[in-house]
């Protein structure tokens, strides 16, 4: 019954070691810069720029959209979903974005630790594996919509980071 606090403490130890070596403001700056970098990468992918924001794409509701308030944990959860989806896309275009997302999640983790927030790593969607068939059939749509929504989500996260996100 007393294993919970102990495990949390052990989990926090390496994070605290990070924070001790790395000033938190640098973590914040790096988070912002990395979000901007990912956004720029998506912008640099030419075919994503032609997607109209006015036209709703049906059948891809599992891809996260804009959310009114993003906490750190919610951010991590959203990014985990995108990672899951992007992993199934052709690696040529998105592999670097995947790595960036992983770094970003680590940064959010550090930020959460710095705030003393419980921050369980999200494992993404459990039902996503069943959608492999959909992904196979609409690879282009998946890629365009995913990147487009990821870009929007990242810009939203950027604003949240400037405001000081909750746990």
């Amino acid at each position: 019954m007393h294993w919970g606090p102990l495990c949390r403490f052990l989990w926090l130890c390496p994070c605290l070691a990070y924070l001790q070596a790395m000033p938190i403001h640098r973590v914040q700056d790096d988070s912002r810069d990395l979000i901007k970098t990912i956004v720029t990468r998506i912008n640099d992918t030419s075919h994503t720029q032609s997607v109209s924001s006015l036209q709703r794409i049906a059948g891809l509701d599992f891809i996260p959209g804009l959310q009114p308030v993003l906490s750190l944990s919610k951010m991590d959860e959203t990014l985990a979903v995108y990672q899951q989806i992007l992993t199934r896309l052709p690696p040529r275009n998105v592999v670097q974005i995947l790595n960036d997302l992983e770094n970003l999640r680590d940064l959010l983790y550090l930020l959460a630790v710095s705030k003393g927030c419980p921050f369980p790593h999200s494992s993404g969607l459990k039902t996503l594996e069943s959608l492999d068939g959909v992904l196979e059939a609409s690879r282009y749509s998946m890629e365009v919509v995913t990147l487009s929504r990821l870009q929007a989500s990242l810009q939203d996260m950027l604003q949240q980071l400037d405001l000081g996100p909750r746990c």
Partner: protein
């Protein structure tokens, strides 16, 4: 079989294949050495057996057989025996591979001549060259010695040997076997660079320091940390190898793509060798910290209009998102651009404006960037951007100009041509489209004329004052600061340049200097104008500030040309009067260059003068001595009876005593050099008649000189005289005479006669010819208004042996004596102006000559040459003075008595020079 690092004998074998159950092994070995001989039989489950306490020089025979470990089974056959002999020196470990800075130890058991050497007596040597200090030894047992090396340095290859040989020796003997020590420098520098798109990290490392180890392989291994690097990177037990490729430059290059921008990549190089593996010190790289950004795009450069700055603009590259600093380099566009640098630390800045010296030149500009926090690398320089030369501002000033006035200067209407130099880019900023001339006169007011892009313009100057201004116009506007020039009739007469001189330095430079006099007008500047007079159109000019008094003109001056320099003072009120000089460039240059030569010439001239003066002084002394020898013996002179001639100061007294009625001129005791040839050419200026030419020569010369000087021509003798005056002239036969007159003196106390100028000239000639009757001539002379005073000639000859030196006294007694001689014509005794008395031959003194104004002949003169009255017009004296002899004003100086008997007398009333006395040798 082999010796382990611990000094044990390791017996190992391989298990039989395809055995489905584990085995046990029975090992049988025999040890044979000088000390012991034994047989051992052991059963083990492993595939090796360690035998301790091995001794150098021992030999082992080993056999192994196997059997099922559990359950029933039988032993296999014994393997074939294996033999192993341990050397007399046993090193363990026999070889060590280690890295620089590490510590290692070798053990040794040494058997010498079948006897183990005590560990206390073992010494260690390195490479058979240096003994290892005993402080590094330690005794492990009575048989085992240990040496330790601390903080090892890299092994220096010796030829093909890439290791150090470590020897275990007795005190005085080393066995030839040795241990091998390989020390490798594994400090491999790994440098990484992330590309501008943040997708690839390239790491490079060199193998130069570890190439010496033959048979080794190198591998980069890394471990990625999720975020950032630890403070002290360490080799993680879990690592991945990274493929690297050797490049032409000897570097290995490894590419990480894709990358985790914020993950720490800890990397190291692993050296694999048969002796073991070594790892280089690990390096941690954060890809985000080693970014080499893309160069800034869209770099543009331009010169800002009306501001005049070089404006450079750029854009931030898409990556990285960090704040960036920028570096600008710019320079005049050309083959080899001399770059100037400018730093921009404002991350948001996208442009910079820089002052540049030349606004009208094309500049090349490049920009690069780097993270503002200093991490990473500078990007490459952007593609160069170039400025376009265009008008930046209005011209800073109008052109400097000057005028040429054409036509008659005396007329009121003159054609004036304005000349100006085209504005350079620095002044026009950067071009001139046209020039505009503003005129201003009191009567016609102000008007402007557009003259296009020409540089000269002619207009008519009609009013007393006419002011012109030339404006320069470009695409931006009209020049603000302009020069005025007022053409003024009145001011053209104002002269303030006192002096003006030009000194050519060389063919390319002339120094001008000038002095000014005070002026009430306000001086603005000067204009210097120069030209070659031969080339009318070639006029050059310069504007010089008013404060300058010396100026260097640089031009190509042709050395042989003559140049005219003019200095114009320019006042507010108008152009002043110029000072004009002419200069020969070559002459002046040579003058400067030959100053030293000039000084030498002057010195030579001075020396020559001194020498001449000395010669004259010597001659003077000799003459003085000569004449004093000729002083007649006063005891033979009647007038000198009773006088003491031993006292020179009484000379004057001598004269006073005997010449009561005679006025003496200044007693000139010092004879002077009179080696002159005096010719008096006088001609009658009367309208009706011309006097015969007469030449009066006073000579002290050799015979040649006298011959030349005495004009002994027929035409100059009787002919002229007789024709003109009816005077008998006795001419001496030239063939008989070879006059060598040694001395001649004309003495006079005459006063200068200013009235002589009114008289005509008489050409008189005193030479070998003299007129015997001079009364007509004399009369004719008396008609004139001469004021010739008494003069006398004395001519000493050394070539007339018959002339007797008279040694006569000079008084009335002389007349008497002359009368007694009876050869002198007695005429005009009232004209008693006989002044001279003695002529002597230098050589023989045989002849004396007496000349009286009454007789005007010489006696006892040889018949062939009579000396009579010779009258010299004052005017002719003037002529004489002008040409040869200064008789007019310096007669007193010129004619000096040389003996005390000599006297001068006062002039006659009609001021005619009465008598002449001469001594002619024939």
């Amino acid at each position: 079989m082999g010796i382990t690092d611990d000094g044990n004998l390791k017996i190992s074998w391989s298990s039989p294949t395809l055995t489905p159950f584990p085995l046990q092994y029975q090992v049988k070995y025999s040890e044979n050495s000088t000390a012991i001989m034994r047989e051992v039989d052991e059963i083990v489950s492993a595939t090796s057996l360690l035998v301790d306490s091995v001794l150098p020089g021992s030999s082992y025979e080993v056999q192994v057989r196997g059997k099922r470990l559990d359950g029933p089974g039988a032993w296999s056959d014994w393997s074939t025996p294996h033999f192993y002999t341990i050397q007399d020196v046993l090193y363990f470990p026999p070889k060590i591979l280690t890295s620089v800075g590490s510590n290692v130890s070798f053990h040794c058991i040494y058997k010498n001549e079948n006897k183990l050497v005590s560990s206390k007596k073992i010494v260690w040597w390195m490479n058979l060259a240096e003994k290892i200090p005993q402080s590094q030894y330690s005794v492990v047992s009575d048989r085992v010695s240990k040496v330790t090396f601390c903080n090892l340095n890299a092994t220096k290859p010796r030829g093909k040997f890439t290791y150090d040989a470590v020897y275990c020796c007795s005190e005085h003997e080393c066995h030839h076997r040795y241990a091998e020590l390989y020390v490798i420098d594994v400090n491999v520098n790994i440098s990484c660079e992330t590309d501008g798109y943040l997708t690839k990290m390239t790491c490079r490392w060199s193998t130069n320091s570890i190439q010496s180890l033959v048979g080794s392989t190198l591998q980069l291994r890394y471990h990625r940390r999720s975020l950032y690097c630890s403070d002290i990177p360490s080799i993680h037990p879990v690592s991945e190898p990274k493929d690297c490729h050797l490049q032409k430059d000897g570097f290995y290059e490894c590419v990480f793509q894709p990358i985790f921008l914020l993950s720490g990549y800890t990397m190291w190089i692993r050296i694999n060798h048969s002796l073991g593996s070594l790892d280089s010190p690990p390096t941690c790289v954060l890809p985000d910290s080693v970014v080499k950004p893309l160069p800034p795009p869209s770099v543009k450069a331009e010169m800002t209009v009306n501001i005049g700055l070089l404006k450079i603009s750029w854009e931030k590259p898409i990556f990285p998102e960090n704040n960036l600093q920028f570096q600008i380099r710019y320079g005049l566009s050309g083959k080899e651009v001399q770059w100037k640098m400018y730093e921009v630390y404002d991350a948001k800045a996208k442009s910079a404006s820089l002052p540049v010296p030349d606004l009208c030149a094309a500049y090349a500009v490049q920009v690069r960037c780097k993270r503002l926090d200093g991490l990473g690398y500078w990007s490459n320089w952007s593609n160069p951007a170039y400025t376009v030369v265009m008008d930046i501002k209005v011209p800073t000033r109008g052109p400097e100009f000057w005028r040429i006035i054409n036509g008659d200067m005396t007329k009121k209407e003159k054609n004036v041509t304005l000349l100006w130099k085209p504005l350079m880019k620095n002044d026009s900023l950067c071009s001139v489209r046209r020039y505009v001339i503003n005129h201003q006169t009191s009567r016609n007011g102000t008007w402007a004329q557009d003259v296009g892009n020409h540089t000269r313009f002619t207009f008519l100057w009609t009013e007393p004052a006419h002011t012109v201004t030339i404006l320069a116009v470009n695409s931006v506007g009209v020049s603000v600061a302009n020069f005025n020039l007022t053409l003024s009739w009145h001011m053209s007469k104002v002269h303030i340049v006192q002096s003006f001189s030009a000194y050519p330095l060389n063919s390319s430079c002339v120094i001008l200097s000038w002095m000014l006099s005070p002026s009430e007008y306000k001086l603005m500047y000067f204009i210097v104008e120069w030209r070659t007079p031969n080339e009318d159109n070639e006029i050059k000019w310069l504007r010089i500030p008013s404060s300058v008094k010396k100026y260097y003109i640089h031009d190509h001056f042709i050395p042989i040309e003559k140049y005219q320099f003019s200095l114009y003072p320019i006042f507010v009120e108008g152009v002043g009067k110029p000072k004009i000089i002419n200069t020969f460039i070559q002459e002046d240059i040579e003058k400067h260059q030959n100053d030293a030569g000039l000084y030498i010439v002057v010195l030579i001239i001075i020396s020559s003068l001194v020498l001449l003066l000395g010669t004259l002084l010597i001659s003077h002394q000799r003459m003085k001595k000569l004449f004093w020898e000729d002083v007649p013996n006063p005891k033979n002179c009647s007038w000198a009876q009773g006088l003491n001639f031993q006292k020179p100061e009484t000379f004057e007294h001598l004269f006073f005593k005997h010449t009561d009625s005679v006025t003496f001129g200044p007693l000139l005791l010092e004879p002077e050099t009179i080696s002159e040839d005096i010719s008096v050419d006088a001609s009658w200026k009367n309208k009706d008649e011309m006097a015969p030419a007469t030449v009066v020569s006073l000579l002290l010369a050799t015979s040649d000189l006298g011959k030349r000087s005495f004009c002994a021509s027929d035409q100059c003798n009787g002919a002229n005289f007789s024709d003109a005056e009816g005077t008998e002239v006795t001419c001496e036969d030239e063939s008989r005479r070879q006059p060598s007159v040694k001395y001649a003196m004309l003495v006079s106390n005459s006063k200068s006669s200013e009235t002589d100028e009114e008289q005509g000239l008489i050409n008189s000639s005193v030479s070998k010819c003299f007129s015997s009757k001079n009364s007509p001539l004399k009369d004719s002379f008396s008609d004139t208004s001469w004021e010739i005073e008494t003069q006398a000639f004395l001519i000493l000859s050394d070539q007339h042996p018959k002339i007797i030196s008279p040694h006569l006294t000079f008084s009335e007694g002389l007349d008497e004596l002359l009368k007694m001689e009876g050869n002198f014509p007695e005429e005009n005794h009232d004209e008693k102006s006989v002044y001279y008395l003695g002529v002597t031959s230098v050589k023989k003194r045989e002849s004396d000559v007496f000349l009286t104004d009454a007789s005007r002949v010489l006696y006892p003169f040889p018949a062939h040459c009579l000396f009579t009255d010779i009258r010299i017009l004052r005017d002719s004296c003037s002529h004489l003075v002008e040409n040869n002899f200064n008789l007019g004003t310096s007669v007193k100086k010129t004619f000096v008595s040389y003996m005390p008997q000599f006297q001068t007398c006062s002039t006659q009333t009609h001021k005619i020079m009465e008598n002449k006395m001469c001594d002619l040798t024939v």
